[in-house]
């Protein structure tokens, strides 16, 4: 009997310090290092959209944060190429969480990869601030508001602006050219909903493999549909090649071509001659105001290219995260997430941005029109801002949310 009591005492003595230290750990920073990871496409079709530029942006965010807040903790940055493969991405992230002590992962472009990484992040109770993937599934069917923030844009926000404006101009019949994976499907679905809601009609669509080498036959199908608008539900190199082929085949003379996810990187690559007059939604433009210009010029000096909205978003995401860690003094997921949800976001990327309960970060978006070559005064001077879409209208309203965690409340 005595023996048993002694044993229990010894055991509890062994247990208590462990529990005690675990408690103490939760209230400060694990390993005294905040580790941020950039997971992106470094070598494929989207490498210019995110890629190295996102790493540069994250580095800038860390630099600026250190200069401003002089934090007591160390900040580490790691990055990896997911090659646009969901399995490669989720394995890398699992390794980061399990063995490298990564606290937050950002960029994560490519919706297929992002959905897989979101699952791992939730399972390991870490944080993913997605700046690159567009699928609205991340805040709807696959939402994980305790672990995932959807930061820059999504397929709803991208589709909403140009679609409603064009239908008002009488361009009410649509044909979709869609990248055949999660992102393209999501973009097509959201755009279709907006077309129908505004009284337009969808005449058809064609789905092409990611990274297709030739778009002419898909565009020929779009041409024979006689739709007034040909909407490109694809991105990166696919969008670029679609626009080029559309010009070559004379599509642009009789039909309007709308890139639903077009960025300044694409316009720069194709040139103003072939893209003038195109209208689409952007989350950021370097030449909006003094703050965006200053920040973008700094980015340009390091990366030799102006930032895409992903780059600016990655900068803002890392800053927002670090500020929350600084304010709460911990890298504990729940505490940091709560702080981020509670704090409005004001920086070069967003003014009055807010993270909603479904994980969606809402901020103003911009409906832009590509300038004529004659209007462009300097390199990268590409857009006329047609309209600022206020945060409340830019993103899908909470009333339409399909996120189970939010619906339960």
């Amino acid at each position: 009997m005595m023996k048993r009591k002694l044993l229990a005492l010894a055991l509890s003595a062994m247990l208590f310090p462990v529990a005690g230290s675990a408690l103490a750990q939760a209230s400060k920073i694990s390993g005294d290092v905040v580790k941020i990871a950039v997971l992106t496409d470094m070598s494929g079709v989207y490498a210019d959209l995110g890629g190295k530029g996102s790493v540069v942006a994250a580095e800038m965010a860390i630099e600026d944060f250190k200069a401003q807040f002089k934090p007591k903790f160390k900040i580490d940055l790691v990055s990896a190429d997911h090659q646009n493969k969901a399995d490669v991405g989720s394995n890398k992230v699992r390794e980061w969480y399990d063995t490298q002590g990564v606290d937050m992962v950002t960029d994560v472009l490519n919706s297929g990869v992002a959905i897989a990484v979101a699952k791992v992040t939730t399972e390991k109770n870490k944080i993913m601030i997605n700046a690159g993937a567009a699928s609205t599934r991340l805040t709807n069917e696959d939402c994980a508001p305790n672990n995932v923030v959807h930061y820059v844009y999504d397929t709803y926000a991208l589709a909403n602006g140009p679609v409603s404006v064009m239908i008002k101009q009488g361009k009410d019949t649509w044909f979709f050219l869609t990248a055949d994976y999660a992102f393209g499907h999501s973009l097509e679905k959201d755009a279709t909903a907006v077309v129908l809601a505004n009284g337009g009609k969808v005449l058809g669509g064609v789905r092409h493999p990611l990274n297709a080498s030739d778009f002419s036959s898909f565009l020929l199908q779009a041409q024979s549909s006689k739709a007034k608008v040909v909407a490109l539900a694809n991105a990166g190199g696919d969008t670029i090649n679609s626009i080029k082929a559309a010009n070559e085949f004379g599509l642009t003379k009789s039909q309007s071509v709308v890139g639903l996810l077009t960025t300044i990187i694409d316009i720069h690559a194709v040139g103003l001659q072939a893209t003038q007059g195109m209208m689409f939604t952007e989350g950021f433009y370097w030449n909006l105001n003094k703050e965006t210009r200053d920040w973008s010029r700094r980015f340009f000096d390091k990366h030799k290219r102006m930032p895409s909205m992903l780059h600016a978003g990655a900068y803002s995401a890392v800053t927002t995260y670090l500020k929350a860690v600084q304010a709460t003094g911990t890298d504990d997921t729940a505490t940091v997430m709560k702080k981020m949800h509670d704090t409005p976001i004001n920086d070069a990327f967003a003014k009055g941005g807010r993270i909603r309960e479904d994980g969606r970060m809402v901020h103003d978006m911009y409906l832009v029109e590509v300038k004529k070559p004659s209007e462009s005064k300097e390199a990268w001077d590409y857009y006329n801002i047609k309209q600022v879409i206020p945060a409340e209208q830019a993103f899908q309203s909470m009333a339409l949310s399909r996120c189970p965690a939010v619906a339960k409340k």
Binding site: G44, H208, N211, D214, S224, G237, I240, G250, A269, Q273
Partner: protein, 295 residues
């Protein structure tokens, strides 16, 4: 309007035309591969990267030196050919006696390095290259709107293929080449410089890739990924046609371009895989390829 499986016949003609255009690229590229494999026994994985280099050279000539399309159509393949000769002299020539695998690994590594270099220098979004003025505009064929440049692609590729075939099958030089492939020792004994011929063959083969690259430059975005997007399909074309068969690779290239074009109409999602499905079937029925001979 007449329809086939719900697709207007006009649209079908259009797609046939486009299939022919893509098939032309397959034909020129797989021809280069077939020539190299036939003569050198090397599976040249660097082919796609050199095709891309051809396009990049065309763009660089225009951007930095102001050299137009027509000159680059001549100069870029020569430059690529010279790069090829350097590769052959410095590296490949040591591998002929070894297993195919070594040549494959070496050229694959080279491809990654060439691509990586351009990716690092210019990014992946690519550079715009405009269509030469002579070919601006399009023919209205009634059933479709065919850009003049695409028509030129078909004409230029087929001419080059025909010329190559003629040179190898009908000229004295071609006869030497074929002899050198069949029995290098014996050919050498007749006083023919076999290593020189092999070197020139490799240079010519990759020069063809460079030529296709320049042809492709105005039709698509000039970027570091354009080769790797295409090369796997081209390998499938060579396997289907029969490794080393010159006529086979041209005919299969065009044929598969057309089949792929048709797939884009009836089942677009499968258009990236249809070539490989055909490859699997062909390998089951004729392991040496459609035009290949069992050794």
């Amino acid at each position: 309007m007449t329809e086939i499986f719900g697709v207007p016949i006009q649209a079908l003609f259009g797609q046939l035309m486009l299939g022919l255009v893509n098939g032309s690229f397959y034909a020129v590229l797989s021809l280069g591969l077939a020539v190299i494999f036939g003569m050198l026994n090397i599976i040249n994985f660097a082919h796609g990267a050199l095709y891309m280099a051809g396009a990049m050279l065309a763009w660089m000539g225009m951007e930095y030196l102001g050299i137009g399309y027509w000159w680059m159509l001549l100069l870029a393949p020569i430059c690529v050919g010279l790069i090829g000769i350097a590769i052959e002299r410095l590296m490949l020539q040591w591998l002929y006696k070894l297993d195919h695998l070594y040549g494959l690994l070496l050229t694959f590594g080279l491809a990654l390095m060439i691509e990586g270099l351009f990716r690092d220098l210019y990014g992946v979004a690519g550079q715009p290259y405009s269509i030469p003025e002579e070919f601006a505009g399009a023919f209205n064929l009634g059933f479709m709107f065919l850009p003049k440049y695409r028509a030129w692609i078909v004409f230029a590729s087929l001419s080059v293929c025909l010329l190559t075939w003629y040179m190898i099958e009908k000229t004295r030089l071609g006869a030497y080449l074929r002899a050198a492939t069949e029995n290098p020792q014996l050919t050498q004994a007749f006083g023919i410089n076999v290593p020189l011929m092999v070197m020139l063959t490799y240079g010519f083969g990759v020069g063809l890739a460079g030529f296709a690259g320049v042809l492709a430059a105005p039709a698509s975005q000039v970027g570091p990924l354009m080769g790797s997007n295409l090369i796997i399909v081209v390998f499938a074309v060579v396997v289907i046609g029969g490794m080393g068969s010159i006529l086979g690779s041209v005919v299969t290239g065009l044929g598969l371009g057309i089949i792929e074009g048709m797939t884009k109409v009836f089942w677009p999602e499968a258009s990236a895989t249809v070539v490989f499905m055909i490859m699997a079937v062909v390998l089951m029925i004729r392991p040496a390829g459609l035009f290949g001979r069992e050794k």
